[in-house]
């Protein structure tokens, strides 16, 4: 087997030195000459008519350049359902509704101006509970929609669940509940909108979907009477994303509108409170699940229905059921599956994608239910999982074609490392949960592609222009590694540009854990193209057939006579500075051969799927309800670890985020108002809470992956909550059905159990 020089190595992240020395520029660090500062006035009510607005005092404040309300702007619509507008007109539907915006010479003046804007509201009855919102006579969040139920197609029935239910020897039924949580990126959101003299827009942004954001902004420009103009998106260094930057938001359109109105660059930066209140997190869900198996413990059916709180407007949160279907239909072999999800408007904040895209919520229900069913059937929980585990070559009810699959290996590793079956101390318990996720892209858009352009300079240095987005996860670095590997150069010779839509090709975005698979395959394609040309040139210069040439250590060499070699830079200079000289550039667009789901939700969504198992040992304090994690094992089938160190970072970070989801995190909404918009009261885990996760990487070398790799961005946070819930049950015999599993809730469950006998 060929020894790799770059792939498989723990290479530091390419921009790590810039970040460690304070050189990396985030959106907060950018300033454009003449820049104004925009601020947004939010609603005072969760649901109200706007009776009257008076901006005259604000407009008179020295330093204010423009004040805009919904009446001053064209009727722009944005969001997945096109039900949102940058500044609201007529009525507000949540506390985060934007009612006016100011651009001023500095942030303090802008803030002062907001306080001078008078808005008279007429409060309307509001609805905050999605079940109530579905009831007769509930206040309508969007009157023109005539119902609070979104018209979305989330109804899947594969096989025959009713028949399977009759056949099942053991069945369990449960209800679970999950709540609002939010990304908590360390850098708050922000953007700078800037027009040139021809009204072409440059948007400095921290989006994780540059190409789709560009399209959104183009649509907005058209609505603003600026059809046919150009949009350039330049990404600053992104201070965390986790799905939060998968959509475009009101503040971005407001910055564009303010910039158009003032003909000046306008910067809008969120403060931490805005980041909690006016960004869109993972939505609450009420989940009903039933599962059944035969006498031997083989799953026969899974029947799931959900009610999801969509909030007041619609972003990608409303589409998470399309991903929830994946574990519901395809985590373990289960021949008959049914799923229905209802997304419901309420006067709460609205929901978006967040790491896992619905998978953590669904997996919490599935894997909690799996433990219940194993107990019901009297089978060891690990044996039960192994009996039903997916295998390579399986085709699942949704027609997902499982290629590589290390699920059984992951389960076995966790069982071994966790000491399954060994004696436990009092009030200690162990639990396990598994996961499936897309690992080879996910065709949720018309294209799942990513483009790459490569050019070589006269010295053998490589510039890679990729559509991919790095937001800290290491996309830049793994792309450099695969290119360096293919071109026989050092990683330090490769620079990866991923920040500018004027020079970088199209990409659908950093979602679905797709970047390593798709962007690296794209980069590899471009590298292969340019390598072919290098070897053609080398063949002429060295008098050797191209098929007998290869590149290594920055040299082209003959595989037949290894002493025959030519330094790459020298070769390139000779090719450049000769008559009819040439310089080497290559491009490649990779769009995986995966499929959009059809109307019945069948189709091979991803080129490959990734699997994993997490196991945890906990101790529960019966007096306080506090859950202490004693040991945590995370085993993941990643295909191939292109960079084990960065990969491990994805698993650690994902797992800790998942543990927060399980135990501490919740955005508390009281009648639509966020009650804990700060880090004191919204509890992400700190260094003191960090759990010593033991990672085990299982390599299955996927035939379609770049050097065998599959995605790993999201999986780490998928099975954590059910693994912990299962361990709590094992420790103290209470089944936690609601997240987060706070000490109060665990204690209440223990007391309830003691009371019940």
């Amino acid at each position: 087997m060929k020894e790799f020089t770059a792939v498989g190595k723990p290479i530091p992240k390419l921009d790590a030195v810039d970040k460690a020395t304070g050189r990396a520029m985030y959106i907060q660090d950018l300033k454009v000459p003449g820049m104004l500062y925009g601020k947004i006035l939010y609603s005072k009510y969760p649901h109200a008519r706007i009776v009257h607005m008076d901006t005259s005092k604000a407009k008179k404040l020295p330093g204010v350049r423009v004040v805009l309300t919904g009446d001053d702007i064209p009727p722009l619509k944005f969001g997945f359902y096109k039900d949102n507008t940058p500044l609201k007109r007529g009525k507000v539907r949540s506390y985060r509704d934007e009612v006016a915006a100011v651009a001023a010479v500095d942030p303090d003046v802008a803030q002062e101006a907001l306080e001078l804007i008078e808005v008279h509201y007429e409060p309307l009855p509001a609805v905050f509970d999605p079940e109530e919102a579905l009831g007769e006579g509930a206040p309508l969040v969007h009157e023109e929609h005539r119902s609070n139920l979104l018209k979305l197609p989330w109804k899947m029935h594969l096989g025959d669940v009713e028949e399977a239910r009759k056949q099942a020897r053991y069945t369990v039924e449960d209800r679970f509940r999950v709540t609002w949580v939010t990304h908590c990126c360390m850098a708050p959101s922000g953007c700078i909108a800037m027009f040139d003299s021809s009204m072409n827009l440059t948007m400095y942004s921290n989006t994780q979907i540059p190409s789709l954001a560009q399209k959104d902004y183009l649509e907005a420009l058209e609505g603003m009477g600026l059809k046919g103009r150009r949009v350039r998106v330049i990404k600053a260094c992104i201070g965390g994303a986790f799905g939060s930057k998968l959509d475009t938001y009101a503040y971005e359109y407001i910055a564009i509108l303010l910039a158009q109105a003032t003909r000046k660059p306008v910067c809008i930066l969120f403060d931490r409170k805005e980041e909690f209140v006016a960004t869109s997190g993972r939505q609450p869900a009420l989940i009903k699940i039933a599962q059944g198996c035969d006498g031997e413990g083989r799953l026969l059916f899974r029947d799931v229905s959900m009610i999801l709180d969509n909030g007041a407007y619609t972003s990608w949160g409303a589409t998470t059921p399309s991903v929830m279907m994946m574990p519901i239909s395809s985590l373990y072999r289960v021949p008959n599956v049914r799923y229905e999800a209802r997304c419901v408007y309420t006067n709460n904040t609205y929901s978006q994608a967040m790491r896992g895209y619905g998978n953590p919520q669904a997996t919490f229900a599935i894997e909690s239910s799996m433990d219940r069913l194993a107990e019901e059937a009297g089978i060891d929980r690990v044996d039960f999982r192994l009996r039903n585990a997916n295998e390579p070559g399986d085709v699942t009810p949704q027609e997902f074609k499982i290629t590589t699959c290390g699920l059984k290996d992951c389960i076995e590793e966790v069982r071994k490392r966790l000491g399954w079956g060994e004696p436990k101390q009092k009030d200690e318990g162990i639990g396990m949960a598994c996961l499936i996720h897309v690992g080879g892209g996910a065709r949720v858009y018309k294209s799942d592609g990513c483009g790459t352009i490569i050019k070589l300079d006269d010295y053998g240095k490589v510039d890679v222009f990729t559509g991919a987005t790095d937001m800290g996860q290491g996309a830049d670095t793994v792309i450099a590694q695969v290119v360096a590997e293919e071109l026989g150069v050092e990683v330090e010779d490769v620079r990866v540009m991923h920040t500018d839509t004027d020079v970088c090709p199209w990409d659908v975005g950093a979602h679905a854990s797709r970047t390593t698979f798709v962007a690296c395959n794209s980069a590899l394609g471009a590298a292969r193209n340019i390598k072919e040309r290098i070897l053609e040139i080398a063949s002429r210069q060295m008098g050797e057939l191209p098929e007998n040439l290869d590149i290594r250590n920055r040299e082209v060499f003959s595989t037949r006579e290894p002493e025959k070699r030519l330094e790459l830079g020298k070769l390139l200079r000779k090719a450049h500075f000769s008559p009819s000289g040439q310089m080497l550039m290559a491009e490649y667009f990779y769009d995986p051969a995966n499929e959009n789901l059809d109307k019945t939700f069948r189709g091979n969504l991803s080129m490959t799927y990734t699997f994993g198992a997490h196991g945890v040992r906990v101790k529960v304090d019966r007096e306080t309800g506090k859950v202490k994690v004693l040991k945590y094992v995370a085993a993941h089938d990643v295909g191939k670890a292109i960079n084990p160190m960065l990969l491990e970072g994805q698993v650690y970070g994902g797992a800790l985020m998942g543990i927060g989801y399980a135990l501490t995190e919740q955005l508390l909404l009281d009648k639509g108002q966020v009650m804990n918009p700060n880090f004191r009261d919204y509890k992400i885990l700190t260094a003191k809470d960090a759990v010593d996760v033991e990672t085990c990487i299982v390599e299955t070398l996927d035939k379609d992956g770049p050097f065998g790799a599959k995605g790993i961005g999201e999986p780490g946070c998928v099975p954590t909550a059910p693994a912990i819930a299962n361990a709590i049950y094992d420790a103290v015999g209470v089944r936690m059905r609601e997240l987060p599993m706070t000490p109060e809730r665990v204690l209440a469950a223990i007391l309830e159990q003691e009371k019940g006998g």
């Binding site: 723990p10 530091p12 992240k13 790590a16 030195v17 810039d18 970040k19 460690a20 020395t21 304070g22 050189r23 990396a24 520029m25 985030y26 907060q28 990304h183 908590c184 990126c185 360390m186 850098a187 708050p188 260094c237 992104i238 201070g239 965390g240 986790f242 403060d271 931490r272 290996d409 800290g472 996860q473 290491g474 160190m645 960065l646 990969l647 491990e648 970072g649 698993v651 650690y652 970070g653 994902g654 800790l656 700060n678 880090f679 004191r680 992400i684 700190t686 260094a687 003191k688 960090a690 759990v691 010593d692 996760v693 990672t695 990487i697 299982v698 390599e699 299955t700 070398l701 065998g708």
Partner: protein, 168 residues
């Protein structure tokens, strides 16, 4: 009200006029253009704005610029040697995968420096305690702990166990 202050910033004397209400963070970022110090929350909860004042880690978003008068301030820009050689903590953060999005990194490194200056071989418990005021959402902290241990010379590089099933 304006006043004049004088302090040592990254080894160089700064004498300048400031407003009473300015925070040290504002002075550094907005007046002096030192954007390596980050603002994550503005209320002393996240630690992204951590700088060292007389070798103690402080949240510069809560620290009035006026208080820096006569003191020594170190920001991330002043940590590497003038010739660009990284401080051992910076190098250790880079080499141990302790940096993802990097927004918490400057503050995290400076809190770690305050710890190591006082306690050159801290236990993991002591590291966790010293970094408890610096939030990170990306890394899960473990590689940060390893970096701090590596910088204090008490650590062997560790990476995840890889099991290659295809090789079996």
């Amino acid at each position: 009200m304006a006043r004049r202050i004088s302090f040592l910033l990254n080894g160089e004397v700064q004498e300048l006029e400031i407003e009473d209400h300015w925070t040290l963070l504002y002075l550094l970022r907005e007046e002096l253009g030192l954007t390596g110090t980050k603002e994550g929350c503005g209320s002393g909860e996240c630690g992204a704005c951590t700088v060292l004042v007389d070798n103690k880690a402080v949240n510069s978003c809560l620290y009035l610029a006026a208080e820096a008068d006569g003191k020594e301030v170190l920001t991330i820009e002043g940590l590497a040697s003038p010739d660009g050689t990284l401080h051992p903590l910076q190098r250790a953060f880079v080499e141990n995968g302790a940096i993802q999005c990097g927004f918490c990194t400057p503050g995290m490194i400076l809190s770690a420096k305050a710890l190591l200056d006082e306690n050159p071989s801290p236990t993991e418990e002591e590291i966790r305690h010293a970094l408890a005021g610096n939030l990170c959402r990306c890394t899960g902290y473990l590689q940060i702990f390893r970096a701090v241990k590596a910088a204090s010379g008490q650590f062997e590089k560790r990476s995840a166990e890889v099991i290659s099933r295809s090789a079996e």
